[in-house]
Symmetry: C2
Subunit: 193 residues, 2 copies
């Protein structure tokens, strides 16, 4: 079991590669180990990679003009993360992407991705499927934010993503769900009675 076995399985869920293609794919990515609290993306610097989490937990967030943080995404094992606006358009990032735990990532460079798409067009399909799913996911989240109360969103998240909720700090979860950390405390306190 090398570090690539997980991502190979992940890719194989969506497209079938020959052994040669799989080997080529592996040459186009790199493994990065990162310590808790370190960043792989910072505002102002162009995001060069999309990152697949082999092990660990990551968080992407925006710091607004008042200094408050807003979490746009979490990623644990088998999820992707990056500042997609920065990566896709190769323009300066607006987000921080930070490790919440010591983590192992597989990173795909922007140029490598394009080489990969040229060389193995099946990856067009792969990234089509991945981004369609991401879109559908985000649309559900958006609707949840528009239509539910803070407590309802909390309940929903705990039910669907308890694996994430139990691993990330509470301030990060609150800022993902769209309310203050104090209010999350209140919700939890209320429930524990």
């Amino acid at each position: 079991m090398d570090d690539f076995s997980e991502i190979k399985k992940y890719v194989a869920k969506h497209i079938q590669l020959t052994e040669k293609e799989e080997s080529y794919f592996v040459t186009q990515v790199r493994i990065t180990k990162i310590k808790k609290k370190e960043f792989i993306v910072r505002p102002g610097y162009t995001c060069r990679f999309r990152s697949y989490v082999v092990k660990g937990a990551m968080r992407a967030y925006l710091v607004d003009s008042k200094g408050q943080s807003h979490t746009i995404a979490f990623a644990i094992e088998d999820w992707w993360i990056s500042d997609m606006n920065s990566y896709l358009n190769q323009e300066p990032a607006t987000l921080f992407v930070e490790a919440l735990e010591d983590s192992t990532l597989i990173q795909l460079d922007y140029l490598s991705e394009h080489r990969l798409l040229e060389t193995i067009p099946k990856f067009e399909r792969f990234f089509r499927i991945v981004s369609q799913r991401s879109f559908a996911f985000l649309q559900r989240r958006m609707l949840s934010n528009l239509s539910k109360t803070a407590e309802e969103r909390y309940d929903e998240f705990m039910q669907k993503y308890s694996a994430i909720a139990n691993r990330v700090p509470q301030y990060a979860l609150a800022s993902y769900l769209g309310f203050s950390t104090e209010f999350l405390s209140k919700i939890r306190n209320k429930k524990s009675k």
Copy 2:
């Protein structure tokens, strides 16, 4: 200038088709005319199409348990719309998709899309790009909702999408931005002074 000329241009922005391929593409879609206030998607029925707006204005929204509407998307000329969760997974819709004006749509059926992807793999690339852009768009909207006040979101929308804001009813705009129609009135009233 037939009804297909716009969508052909749209496709050509992302992929290059031969004349034959372009003709084949056109055989896989259909044109639908729809009157204001009619629906192309309703909760409970599986969404069979993704729809490109040739002319008109559309709105996708959720009606929550309290009977309130929440707009997840608008589409005017040159935009796509559908209930993506329903369409991609071919499961019952949760959304309404309604015409805000008499509209002309080009609709791509789920099965036709898959035939198209088999026959002309370049469309894998096309839909990859389209959905990546949709994802990036939605992520910016989500961040805006998490980090800005109602009035700031209104200002941002008016600046970026005044073409949409000026064509849709105010209750629809308010429910897209995530606040009540009364509050939108208040914001507008305040600005007119």
